[in-house]
């Protein structure tokens, strides 16, 4: 018999309820950073020709307004009126990392229950989304730098009892 039955449902009563499914491993060379944040799918795509250059790409949830520019704020030549290859690559890598269902749900794209990255991109392209300005690029790029900075933070051997609330999980939420 389970003790503690009250008004709350099962998921609501677990201290260890799983809220986020774990990110899935992927190769990072082409797209070192992607995230679902600030109401956008946004990320950083390595330039194919210049090792010191990256493109900052984003697609907004709902409106699918897109933008792509370099880290030095030069517009991407491919993103004229339609998704460039950087954006398409970013969508595919986001699907690898988060799973297609979560990406589609976040972007509010209507597709099959088990869409592919390509299906998500096509569904958004079909609405002829507007091209946005590169206003978000600075934010996305600083998010990327913040992300990279996590590699430089010092470890500690003092115990963190709060991490008990964060077990590994193999289950998809």
């Amino acid at each position: 018999m389970v003790q503690g039955d009250g008004a709350l449902s099962d998921r609501e009563k677990f201290s260890m309820a799983r809220v986020l499914s774990p990110a899935r491993p992927r190769k990072l060379a082409k797209v070192p950073f992607v995230e679902l944040a600030d109401g956008r799918l946004q990320g950083v795509v390595s330039s194919g020709s210049d090792i010191g250059r990256v493109y900052v790409s984003s697609v907004a949830a709902g409106s699918f307004v897109f933008a792509c520019s370099t880290n030095n704020n030069r517009p991407c030549g491919g993103a004229r009126g339609m998704f460039c290859n950087h954006i398409l690559t970013m969508i595919n890598e986001a699907v690898l990392q988060y799973g297609a269902t979560r990406v589609a749900r976040y972007l509010r794209v209507e597709t099959d229950p088990e869409p592919t990255g390509q299906a998500i991109a096509s569904a958004m392209s079909a609405t002829a989304p507007a091209q946005g300005d590169s206003g978000a690029a600075a934010t996305v790029f600083s998010q990327f730098l913040r992300h990279l900075a996590y590699l430089e933070l010092p470890p500690t051997t003092a115990p963190l009892p709060e991490m008990q609330w964060f077990p590994p999980t193999r289950t998809v939420v």
Binding site: P155, T156, L160, M163
Partner: protein, 462 residues
Amino acid sequence: MRADLLAEPIAGLDEALAAVDGGDQALTAGLLRPQPAQVAALTGLADALAGSPLAGRVAEAVDKIAAGAAGEDHFLAVAAARTALLGSVHDALSARVDEATGRPHAEPAAPEPGAEVSPNLLAAARSWLADLARAGWRGLDHDLVSGSAPVISAMLPDPAPRRLAALLDGFAAELAASCPGAGIDQVPARRWGDLWSRALVLTLPGALGGAPGGTATGRLLPLGVDLHEHGTAAQAQVHAVLEPADGSTPRLVRASVSVPKPDTVLGAGLWQLLRPHLSLLAAAGDGRSMDVEAMPVTAEGDLVWDEERARPGAPADPFVTARVVLPTAATPPVAPLDRHPARLAVPVFLEGYTTDKDGDAIGVTVAGHRLPVDLDRVPVASPLTPAAVASSGACLGLLRWDAGTFSVQPLAVETVVKKKAVAVHAGAWAGGTTDKNGVKAEKAATDAVTVLRERAGRLLRK
């Protein structure tokens, strides 16, 4: 182990949890302009604290919240009330576990003085947590959640408030992924109530705990490795028995290492980040003991690892430790603020059980009582598979409790592979591995970190 005792009801437990649920329902709706139902639920929480030293402050807080005039101190009183109730649940469960294991429990020790943390940072964290409470989980939006980012960024570089920083970082990521709050199917109310109240209490001066008060000298016999992770942090804890050099009673201890990480470093990548800072991980993976001399230790039995004070010891099979030393090892006391059912992770040794498997769910039946096996807590980069657990004859694990049920998290099992008896350890790959799948996972993780370091080298302003 007297597994039958784990199934017996505990007096007062349902009532205490119902009061906690009341607080969680109120937090779900938000405390800014609470409806009568929320005020009634909070009153239930306050009533449960009647007769305790918190009674007056909690009752006052509920009055202020009901009047729409609450401030940070009042939210703090609600968090404290919830913490105290779950503390009592922890104590009851812990007493029951002691009965079941038959092991002695050491006396509570005096709390150690807290670490020095910038009061401004703590105030900023408290202010964000108060905003969350006002809006409630149903009122979450991106702007509200992103208010935590500057606080977390400022806190992370300093290891002193790392407990709070890692907690806020993991919590904020969950909230961000759940925006807008109005669209959440089932709010994880107990969980977010735990994380919120814990974070709020940790913003109080001195609550973060401080320098370890004692030292440990003797032989460390590892039992197994427990891994914790969220998107941007990982912690490994080695559970071990310390045999003190002075011949006194052996006792249970833990040694931890944690590190913040980018969310694309996963699986074996976690071991790679953690293993350079805790040689005990490799020792546990290889089945070796370690000798420690004057290793700093907290009253709770947490060794604060210093490589200078440790050296490799003789081989030590965790199953031998579990059979011979564990039954007499004393359990250290729990710090007052850490008394929470989620914190229960009690090393136990089970054998002579039968297993059952239904899809992904595995259970072990010990002396007629079934315990679910929490396989989800086994690290991703680990050779310990559900099949190994299902075919096992002995299990070394951590006894845990959540939402009314005890379960066992396997740290290692003894099973038979190709007619040969073998031990499979959840943390076997912690120190590195020659296993074919393990090597592949290590390679993928190395590549990910290499790319990120290369990008960081080019793009991060030094």
